[in-house]
Assembly symmetry: D3
Homo-oligomer: 249 residues x 6
């Protein structure tokens, strides 16, 4: 089969991934791990480049059955640890103030777009990623705002004038069963992470302040179930699932 | 909380389920277990009535990595065993010939509708179910044909003239990730089967000829993952998920 | 038929409704009557509990062919009268200032969510409703904002940590023919209000400042036509129609 | 206002309708009246042309609470009476045999298309209608088959080679609440029939064998409610509602 | 053919267009030309009335491969020239400040609605257009905001109390391939501009500051390709395509 | 930029395409050229493999303004010439009889599936393609039937038991503007054919019997317009557009 005899010994899909420069845009610290940690680990393992832009960390009182408030500082430290663990090439946090956290819907969209396009350290114009992974709209207002702004930032432009990303995909989250009807997540793009599921779960668990009861949809246990069920959608042990927004070959 | 103090000691949802007469329409033997076995077990446990109408069994050569052909006789015996195990009140198989199996799309829809409405032993007019669980359209042509015919059979009529089902729901299947975009399964109706997951998996496993490799989406292992993930959509250990087509209170 | 022989003399659906604690969230005073007044009257009649949280009343100049401005005070008095008439157990108005009225789209969504979840007198955490009726997105920016925030507030959490509503439904409005394509109202959950249509129309008419010309879609005459047409969708004289967002049994 | 001062004394919309040659394609006798009788009456009143092509009449046993079978002959006579009453310019029935009735889904679509395009007496190539009203897909298999075939027949071709209909619209039916999610009827094209509602109801009532209990969705009473509610979607007393499939100006 | 023998020598569609008073609402200067310049030219040529309300011009730095900033003044002058060239009866610009430009999503929707309904010089209540062309939601936040507000402003009201537009349509843009799935543009209403394509392209080219590289989707070259491809959807040389939101006859 | 420095001198996307074994399934001779001829030419040029399975040729009377009937023999010869011109590795025609042509909707779906899966010379099990391009549902009943059957044939199975295609995509056609609302074509996967547009148009023109008037949507002229407009969706001179149904990396 053509598929298993690439010229340099890598399978074609590994070859393809090894040449990517991936940028993951995450509304909050931990979204990158829910959606993409296995993919990030695999691409790094293959020699590709991975970057992560987190929009907001902030002091937060959770419905988590625990006392007290998680501070932005804690979130940032956890995020940094995960970035180190996944060997991410570079990362960035856009907003650290409590006022902005969970209020990204109140920032003029143009400002978020400008950050994504040109002004952030990891902006598309600067980083020139070949693969862009963005969150999908959800019940969470920050996810919706980041999705909308990232979508606009990824609109195509003429090469040489505006950065162009050949692959733009939306990543998974355990909460999508509670999305609006017209915003449901229907994946069609899968990354086989059978060899990287442990790293995905480890990365996620390092966002220690965000860990929930096992019955919660975002519990580590459920992320494991879903990764294995996503895998079985393509007949492998574990996968991360995405929606294709654009791919150019 | 109102929810936990029903008059006869049952929780309101248990009380409600205990009064139901459920009819499950299954395209093929095993679909009822993929979708509804936990619900069937729970309703029987609560004292309600459960019936199952299977449309077709037939000789079949599977992509199952095994040799030989599964006969209609084997499928029927397995189905009978499952019905016994789940203590179903009555069951029926409509077509047993190899010619019809996987060719339900070639039967005039009117004939399937007539069977569901009036002519089958468990037809709606005869059984007068209060809760009707039907399959949802999928890539499988028989599922699509049965869904369409059952949908038409369940159209509302004037009470006293035509049987009316206060609850009509569509049940889950592990294959829906490969449904057409406009036919995706978005559940909004859940039955808590935390105490009945073992029975669901046992029932399914009794369709021995249908068991697949663990990496297949319809493997026992994946049904377990999905039941637990569905459970976490409502914060319980395991659930069966449905789409509401009609509910009247 | 199982359906007509419940243990305590009530029909199963009456029994079920009698055990509910319903909370209706209304963007403006009168939306609760357009969508749910018959249901509210029926549940109260059966011995259940009903609460109503109105988001905003404000001074308003209508396209109503009449002179002058309707004041927030008038709206509140009318709303209070309706609540009394329907024997609602408790009610609340969140915003009374003219600045907020019809500008709920400018409040950070997080603030509306916090009110619905924890901070309002009738917040979900405090009231612990078993049935939650929320508005559906419409061309009206306040309806859209309240829908989005209520949707987020109703996301599932682990019982004991965050209030969980077993039934979450969206209610009808006469304006939905002018909703965006992807926001159309497709009801699948009906409450038979044949015996309560008079009370629904009476309640609505008590919002006297909101009464429109008979040719307007929100006229009392049209609400009557639509209730009777909705009834005929389930073959009864009159019904209120809802979309199921979540039901757990 | 421009709208009220057309050159020949007619309002622009009356002027426009007066120049139309309307063809209504009906799956069964009575569908034309449910959907279009008011429009047909109005266009005839204005001096335009109206034609009606009925696909099938056949012997039928109804869920109508009455004894016996309605024969194809009865259906045809009723249809003829309606055509006379509405002063239709010409009409045609394609299938009269009991075998075809309610089995249009088993005719190769190509055959229905050929009838609609070239072979029927009122085929598009022969009649050259300027306005084509077709049924919309519903739970009824004949409606679905006729819709699909009429849709294909109405595909655009080069003028002079294939007949071209500047207006193609889908008409209403009282059963659409029970259509599949992706086939729901969302009207955007309205014909004001305030002065023709009586004729619509009269025409419908002449399909005497099809009259149902007042609580049925297709009862005369409900058609009246819905025509008045549709009217209020555009602020007139009564209207017929359509979906625009194509309009060329 | 009825279609070609109108009373005053005009074809019925020309007769119909000649009686229209068209208002085009454009988010930014140039949107009216991308979507409607051919239609505007044709209606003026037939003796009808055309008006254009532009929401915002502002200083803007483009991804255009050119240096410098385009000023609001330049945009306004270009817009004025286009209005003159198309012989538009009257036009208006709502916002000229740099702060508002590309930030229409931060204006309370109620304010935009009020401008469209009553307060602008060309407001619906004042102008009483018979045909209203509005932008369709896109990745651009201003287009989304204007669409939503215009949609609400065009909701039907009782004639004599609130202005009513018999035709409300959404117009085309070359960027819609990059719209969200549920906001895709599916045209069903076409204006034949075969004789007006040159004027459309000329008008567009007069927005000189907005001209892009030929490979950009909004280049003059691509507008030409798309107008000709749209034309072939109805078998004419060139067309402008619209979505019908409401039409009343 | 990572994207331009692949190890063996090819750009990553060229490298990726060069390793593919593409199978195109076409309902009729010419569909492969409308949708994929540029892609086929490019993959062959890069050293990959390309195969084409055509479902049906048959005697046909066209609405083409020409006299007489095109025979199956003519269609086959033209198809063969195109296959030769595009240097396709192998091709196959499934049905040649006039009875089947345009009647694929009457073949039991199971039979088409069996041909695609195992029984045709180029069946998935035999050919083991890495990239599968299938038609998308359209107003044409054969396209719908082939799409449905190919979709089912491409359902995932366990590797080693059933052939698995890492890439499954749906290809473009000039007729999709006349598809049903829920079947519209929204491309997200593009192949740059700027250097292969001439070959695409040449291949298409070799289906000489299918050439239409320049105003027809399927004219050579319009295919050129659309290829260039599709190109501008990704800022290149010409492209073929696809919908991603599955991609696994």
């Amino acid at each position: 089969m053509t598929n298993s005899s690439a010229k340099n010994g890598l399978k074609p899909e590994d070859e393809f991934l090894s040449g990517q420069r991936l940028l993951v845009i995450a509304p909050h610290a931990d979204d990158e791990s829910f959606g993409c940690a296995g993919t990030m680990a695999r691409i790094k393992n293959l020699g590709g480049e991975v970057y992560c832009l987190c929009c907001s960390v902030g002091d937060l009182k959770h419905y988590d059955g625990k006392d007290g408030i998680v501070t932005a500082g804690t979130r940032e430290q956890e995020f940094k640890n995960v970035m180190d663990y996944l060997k991410v090439d570079d990362w960035e946090i856009l907003y650290r103030d409590e006022q902005t956290h969970l209020r990204l819907d109140t920032i003029p969209r143009r400002e978020l777009i400008a950050l994504f396009e040109r002004d952030a350290k990891l902006a598309l114009d600067r980083l020139q990623p070949t693969m862009l992974a963005i969150p999908v709209s959800s019940y969470n207002q920050d996810h919706e705002a980041v999705f909308r702004a990232a979508w606009t930032a990824a609109r195509p432009g003429v090469r040489g004038v505006k950065a162009f990303q050949p692959i733009v995909i939306g990543y998974d989250n355990t909460s999508f069963f509670w999305s609006l009807e017209h915003e449901k997540f229907h994946p069609n793009f899968y990354i086989d992470i059978s060899d990287f599921l442990d790293q995905k779960l480890k990365a996620l668990s390092m966002h220690q302040s965000q860990m929930r009861d096992t019955l919660h949809h975002s519990s580590l246990q459920n992320v494991d179930y879903i990764a294995r069920a996503r895998g079985r959608e393509i007949s492998v042990e574990a996968a991360e699932a995405y929606m294709t927004f654009r791919q150019v070959l």
